[in-house]
């Protein structure tokens, strides 16, 4: 009965981001509205649920826009985390220097935009501590990430300063492996999985919207949990 209505709708939306049709423009408008709703819903003091070690998903689930064999391998010795934008101290960070910072551990749930979820343990430097250390301007709107595999994403400053948002260095008690985002990834349990970029090469802070790999194809930008 409803089939007639459904089949007359465009078969595929967001299929050509460069040439949005009327439906795409409507969806973009609603997605921007939903970003504002999610900003309003976001409570910086509400913590994502934490779990016990026996609830950790084993084996962990690999997920990316490529096969696990394509995961980028970054040389830990020559790795330098670049900093850009509204940051006072933009000197790059070696992995050794990052590992010398106080780390926090969390057992949290990662929910994929597809609907499935896994529980894992991550440990790393809380992003707000790192921002304090490097003198990031936390009045800016956006924090943007560029990754070794060409992936990129950005988040709102409020979520970046959430106590459970960490620059993860360890996964399941060991240093991150390439498949799970070595040498540094974002772990942000208040957002969907694709907002947790892996193998981060550059962090920048600013007021210019930079979108993201999936966001630019039509996924909702805020994508909070």
């Amino acid at each position: 009965m409803a089939l007639g209505v459904v089949s007359t709708l465009p078969a595929c939306d967001y299929d050509d981001p460069a040439n949005p049709d009327l439906a795409d423009k409507f969806l973009h408008m609603m997605s921007a509205f939903n970003d504002r709703v999610q900003r309003a819903l976001f409570n910086p003091h509400t913590l994502a649920p934490t779990f016990s070690p026996d609830q950790i998903t084993n084996p962990p689930r690999f997920n990316a826009f490529y096969d696990i064999s394509q995961a980028p391998v970054v040389d830990p010795a020559s790795y330098r985390l670049e900093l850009a934008g509204q940051i006072q101290q933009t000197a790059p960070w070696s992995l050794t220097a990052l590992r010398a910072l106080p780390r926090e551990s969390q057992i949290t749930r990662l929910i994929c935009v597809e609907g499935w979820r896994v529980i894992g343990q991550w440990a790393g430097v809380p992003l707000r501590d790192f921002f304090r250390r490097i003198g990031a301007d936390t009045t800016c709107q956006y924090v943007s990430f560029k990754c070794a595999d060409g992936y990129y994403s950005s988040i709102d400053m409020e979520s970046a300063l959430h106590p459970q948002t960490v620059l993860a260095l360890d996964f399941l008690g060991s240093p991150l492996t390439p498949a799970f985002g070595a040498p540094v990834r974002l772990r942000i349990p208040t957002k969907l999985g694709f907002k947790n970029p892996k193998s981060i090469m550059q962090i920048s802070v600013g007021n210019v919207y930079t979108g993201g790999y999936w966001e630019d194809q039509g996924y909702n930008w805020f994508s909070g949990s």
Partner: protein, 205 residues
Amino acid sequence: MDQPRTRAIHPWPLRLMHWLNVVAIVMMIGSGLQIYDASPLFVFTFPPLVTIGGWLAAGIAWHLAFIWLLMGNGLAYLVWGSVTGHFRRKFFPLSPRMVAREVWAALRFKLPHRKGVYNSVQRLLYLGVIFAGIAVVVSGLGIWKPVQLWFFTDLCGGYFAARYVHFFTMAGIVAFMFIHVLLVILVPKSLPPMITGGKFLDPQS
């Protein structure tokens, strides 16, 4: 004494909300099945004929665009139905005995049809689908915001369970829609009043 007066079977706010709900529900279910296909809960997936969007990002975008129509319209219906006495008049009284008696009467083809008055099976089904509508929205909010709206997620038994609650309440609504449309096909004269309003002799005036 007042003269008995005629009333619209379906007053205009109800008709407006009914047809807005048709649009919202078709869009929500079509886009929801698209989202389901990205990570199926069961062995089956849904064919493109019944999904809206074509791929996950568009399915989610449609779903989270039309949720506002579904919720706004649903909320308006609940407020309107409570304030005007529509729910009290149309859905009550209702008891298990009434349902049993009228099911038995219906099986013997002895259930009378009274224009503008629902029998107890209809009352039960309408109340049931209102409950399913509330449950599908609550579980949906629990899936969308398991951190910020954790109480909705917990109410469903956690994130994992909430996806099943969401699916089965949707399935219940679809089952209702099939019965609903089947009855309209069997009794076609029930359709025009949902467009024009219709008239019946109000038993309470």
